[in-house]
Structure formats: structure tokens, C-alpha cells
Symmetry: C2
Subunit: 355 residues, 2 copies
């Protein structure tokens, strides 16, 4: 594209600053602001933003503020930036999605960088290979959604589409409860260490790995726990129940049951996918769609559910206006799979290998 694209960042901490650096690396003009003027000034000094202020012509607005402040900031940004797709980077998505209803708002959550803090920790490659969740609801304008998806792919991230409540249930299991558990294990060890300097000296690699996240700043957690309370409580209950079963297995010296559990966990851990690598062969799917909200989200959610990574996305409008073509770029080895899934859902889909 020839004209410089313009983005706005609201909140220039670690994540906001890294988005700015990554956008500028990709050729965007970035305006930033922060409640704390010293922080936006620092963001400009480190090159995370081009200028401080509010850009009425921004195409994209990223709200990188604490979870509890996002809904209000998003509503204001939708009004202040009339051309823009507005997104956020909060760790919980259900409440925000329910609070902000607008065709130009798509919730988001980059799964990177939560353990550090501050603009000076920001870097342009923070999102390279990281998963970035988008949680479009059915009222989102598919063109706005596609534009955001494409821009985030440009930042190096792999976009995964989920509905907001599924996102929250998943992060309770793989982020929120693990964090609370790490802190609890660290607390237990520390309590027992008061009269035994030896205990913490003995803490070897495994314990260090398990408790590393508990060294993060606690400040974000009350908001997260409040916004995702139900899912977190449910997973904590499951965890306590499972640990109760482990306790009975150990107390009863049930070697078979213990081995079964550990083997299953090992197999699952070894299956944990690594960062998505952009494959050598890419293919393009062309999917005719009405210009109605929800269709793009349906396609991208289907891709996520079937483990197909979407590397880029675009909507080509027909000259007649109402209909368009959704173009998604995927690994060529998975293109026919996704096409079949979409066809079985009533969509037309054609596949072309890209050289």
C-alpha cells in the first residue's frame, strides 16, 4: 500500500509499547497516549510511538490498559476515532464483549509479555510467533474484523479466533489458575523455609520453572480474578478435586494409577504445540460471503477449532456491493481440510496454491 497507515495506542506500557514498535517496524505511523505523561514521553523516546496525542484518522486503535479500565476506554475510542477498528489487549474477554457492543470493536488478547512490566521492557518482536486471540462477536463488521486480523498477522503473531466465553474458560485453565497455583506453591515453600535456610537453596530447576510466573507484578491480578471469577473458581475446584485423587493414590501407594496419570500428563506435555512456523507452502481460500456480521467470525473460529492457522485475511467486495469474497491464506497442506469444513457448513470455497 502506498499511503501510510495510521494507528493509535492508548496505554504505553510493555504491551502497548511493543505493539507500537512492531507497527512502526511494519511501516505504520503510530500515535500514543497514556494517563501518565511520563510514560508516553518515554514511549516516544524509545521509538515505540511517532508522536504523543490522539489521531482522529487512525485506522486501528489498540487499548493496552488494565482489564478493569478497558470497557470505558473502548467506548470513548469508538467515538473519538470514527474510522478506526478498536481492539484491546485484556486478559479476560467476556465482560468487555458484553459491555462494548459495536461493529467496530473486536476484543483481543496477545498471549505474550504478561510477566514483565513497563515501557522499557517493550520490544518489536514480542509477538513473533505468539498467539494473539481475537474474540469477535456476531455484530462485528466483517471488514473491520478482517482488517484487524491482517494487521495483527503483520506484527508477527498467529491469530486465533474464539468466542469471548470460550477464551475466558481456556485462559482460566492455562493461565489464571496456573498463576495462582505457582504463587501458592511458592508461598508454601516460603512458609516452611522460615527456619530452614536449606529449603530454598535446594530449590532446583523444576521448582524454579514452576514458580517463575509468581515473580510477576501482582497488580494485574485482582482485575483478572474479578472479571473471570466464575471460570477461575470452577477450575480451582477441579484442581483441588484432582489433587485430592492424587493424594489418595499416594496414600494408598497405588502405583498403577499414579503411573497412568503421569504417563497421560507426559504425553499431553510432549504434544503441546510449539510456536507456529510459517510453512513454505501457502494456499489461498476464496469464500463467497454476504456482507453480514458473523460470517467472518464463523470462518476464523472454524479454522481455530480445527487447528488451521490463518496467516492473512482480506475481504474483496464485489462491485454490486452486498456480496463479497473472503480471502484467507493458510498452510497449503491444511487448505483442503478447511475448505471441506466450510463446505459442510454451507459455504462455497475454492483453493489456490500460492507460489
Amino acid at each position: 500500500m502506498s499511503a501510510t497507515r495510521r494507528a493509535q495506542i492508548i496505554g504505553t506500557g510493555l504491551v502497548g509499547g511493543s505493539i507500537g514498535l512492531a507497527l512502526r517496524r511494519a511501516g505504520w505511523h503510530v500515535t500514543g497516549r497514556d494517563l501518565d505523561p511520563a510514560r508516553s514521553e518515554r514511549a516516544r523516546e524509545v521509538g515505540a510511538i511517532d508522536e504523543i496525542g490522539s489521531d482522529v484518522d487512525a485506522e486501528l486503535v489498540f487499548i493496552a490498559a488494565p482489564v478493569g479500565a478497558i470497557a470505558e476506554l473502548a467506548a470513548a475510542a469508538i467515538d473519538a476515532h470514527p474510522q478506526a477498528v478498536v481492539t484491546d489487549v485484556g486478559s479476560v474477554k467476556g465482560a468487555i464483549s458484553r459491555a462494548v457492543h459495536h461493529p467496530r470493536f473486536v476484543g483481543g488478547h496477545p498471549m505474550a509479555g504478561s510477566e514483565q512490566d513497563g515501557i522499557d521492557g517493550s520490544r518489536a518482536n514480542l509477538f513473533d510467533g505468539a498467539v494473539w486471540v481475537l474474540t469477535p462477536t456476531s455484530q462485528v463488521d466483517p471488514v473491520a474484523h478482517a482488517r484487524l486480523h491482517s494487521a495483527i498477522s503483520e506484527l508477527g503473531a498467529d491469530v486465533v479466533t474464539l468466542d469471548p466465553d470460550s477464551h475466558d474458560a481456556i485462559v482460566a485453565v492455562i493461565s489464571h489458575v496456573p498463576h495462582l497455583t505457582a504463587a501458592t506453591l511458592m508461598g508454601l515453600a516460603s512458609e516452611r523455609a522460615t527456619d530452614r535456610a536449606a529449603l530454598l537453596r535446594l530449590a532446583a530447576g523444576g521448582f524454579r520453572d514452576m514458580t517463575r510466573i509468581s515473580a510477576g507484578h501482582p497488580g494485574i491480578w485482582p482485575d483478572i480474578c474479578a472479571e473471570n471469577r466464575d471460570a477461575i473458581v470452577e477450575v480451582l475446584d477441579d484442581l483441588r478435586s484432582e489433587l485430592g485423587k492424587v493424594r489418595e493414590i499416594v496414600a494408598g501407594a497405588d502405583r498403577g494409577a499414579l503411573l497412568e496419570r503421569l504417563h497421560a500428563a507426559r504425553a499431553a506435555r510432549l504434544r503441546l504445540p510449539g510456536p507456529a512456523v510459517r510453512p513454505v507452502g501457502l494456499a489461498e481460500l476464496r469464500i463467497p460471503i454476504d456482507d453480514r456480521p458473523g460470517q467472518l467470525a464463523h470462518v476464523t473460529t472454524a479454522a481455530t477449532e480445527h487447528g488451521v492457522n490463518i496467516y492473512d485475511i482480506e475481504i474483496a467486495h464485489s462491485t454490486e456491493g452486498e456480496r463479497g469474497t473472503l480471502i484467507v491464506v493458510v498452510d497449503s497442506s491444511r487448505a483442503e481440510t478447511l475448505a471441506d469444513i466450510l463446505r459442510s457448513g454451507g459455504y462455497g470455497a475454492t483453493v489456490t496454491d500460492l507460489q
Copy 2:
């Protein structure tokens, strides 16, 4: 020393092989054997042992076998190697210490390498900077204990002395229960992932760190859980109880209590000591002792409890026979501290800075 020192390794897996490599690096002649002849042959091929077999003249015997097999092998080794100090590398120490009563047996536990497996993963620097626990009981001959302590320091490890039951209580907190918890978290995530390919794709750094140890081979855990059952069950009960409190805090949206817990955990995690670095300045403490069992263990345990690292140790016998001098080398900045502690316990102690 001029004459080549001789060691025996029984069990040439990852830990046994690494001990062999480290001993040979330090100039020892190492003989090894394993129940599986292919494994001892491989150990010789990779240079972990000089020869296969049993060395009746060995000064040190390392038993690097599964926890459940150690007591029997140790008893046999004490008979088969009449000059040797016999030690083991098992992860649980109480039961072994109760089963093997002998002045020449000192239980041990190097806190390194448990996640990998097999002779081909062994390396000479596995113990560099790692903590190696020794658990001498009161009937151990102090000369045997000092000889072992000194040899293990030569392998690059930092020796920490604990009584066997304290060791077991500590590893329940910092190793055994964390391992079971990692496997349980991985199991929970995996169970919920069956219909959601997205879940495991979202698993970012924190979750990967927390579950890394669950990728280890499960084979060692039934023995460990059986031998350390009571301590593990106690810690699992504590963990479940603490997670119950966290659940109530989240359910009740008690921000203050949540922050308090997370801040305490963060502070403890940041205080976690790194690997001991050999300081620039060393000092020698000379402590007159009777040649009675238990005295050396008392001194080294006191050092551990007060966080003083002993870099080397030796017993110099007086010509009269019954009395001797214990010489321990410590960080010169901590030497007076340890001397004061020992003096208050009725020992004489003189400090000399080493240049």
C-alpha cells in the same frame, strides 16, 4: 595427590554416567557396572567409566540406582568394597538411612538431572553449581563423611548437609508435590482440550514453564511416592487447603487478600537463591574435634542451617590418635559467622583467611 584415586559406580544411567564423567575430569579412575550390560558398555564408550566391573580398592562407591533398590545395593557394596565410603543418589533419604546402618555409608542426593534419562544425556558439568545434599547420621565415621564431602565438592557441586527426615520434608515441598501438581495441571488442560484444539495452542510461556517437569519419565515416581508417602500427603493436604483459601478469595473478590498473597509469593520467588558462586575470598576454619561420630555432621548441618557454603573439608588427625582437627573452607565473609555459631555450641574454632 600422587596416587590415582579410585571410585566405583553402580548404575550407569544419566546420574551415574555424569558422576563418572565428573570424577574422571577430576583425575579419578572410575569402574562402573550396571544390571544392564549394554548400559555399562555404553558408559565406557562415552567415557563415563574407565572400565566395567567391580573395583575392590575403590575409596568411594556411588549407587545410582532406583530408590527402591538402593538399600540392598548399599549393604552389598559396603561388604564388597571394604575401603570405601558408600553413598547413593536417591531422591528420598529417610527409609534408606534407617535401612543402612554403617559408619561408611552416607546418604546423598544431587539436585540435578532428574528430568532426563539415560547415559547419553550424561555430562561432566551436570553438577556444576548444583546443590548436592548429604544426610549423614550420627553413626557415620567423620573421616568417611569428610572424604565424601570433599570429593563431591571436586565434582563442582555445593554440598548441603541435612538430617534424612528434614531432607525428605523439604523435597516433598520443592520437588515431589510440585511434580505431581504440574502433572495434574497438564492433565486438567489436556482433558478440557479434547474438543478445543485452541486450548493447547494458547498455552504460552507461563504454562509451558509450569508443566515442563511433567514431560519427564514417570518411571521413578512410584518409588519416590512410596518412600516419601507421609511427607507428600502432608504437603498435598496443605496445598489443597491453601488453594481452598485462594478459591474463597477469588469467589469473594477480596482484592486485598489476593494482593497480599501474590506480593508475598513474589518476594519469596525473587529471594530464591541462585546457584552458589565460589567467592573470590576463602577462609579456613580449624575446629578441634574428638574422633567421635556425629561431630562433623553437627558442624556441616549448622553451616547449612545458617546458609554458609562449605567449599572443602578435611580432617587432620593429631599424632596422639584420639583427637583431630576439622578443617573447613568457606566464603571468607561468612567465616566469622560460622565460627561464632560453633563457639556458641561449645566448639573451639579459629579462622584463617586464605590468599
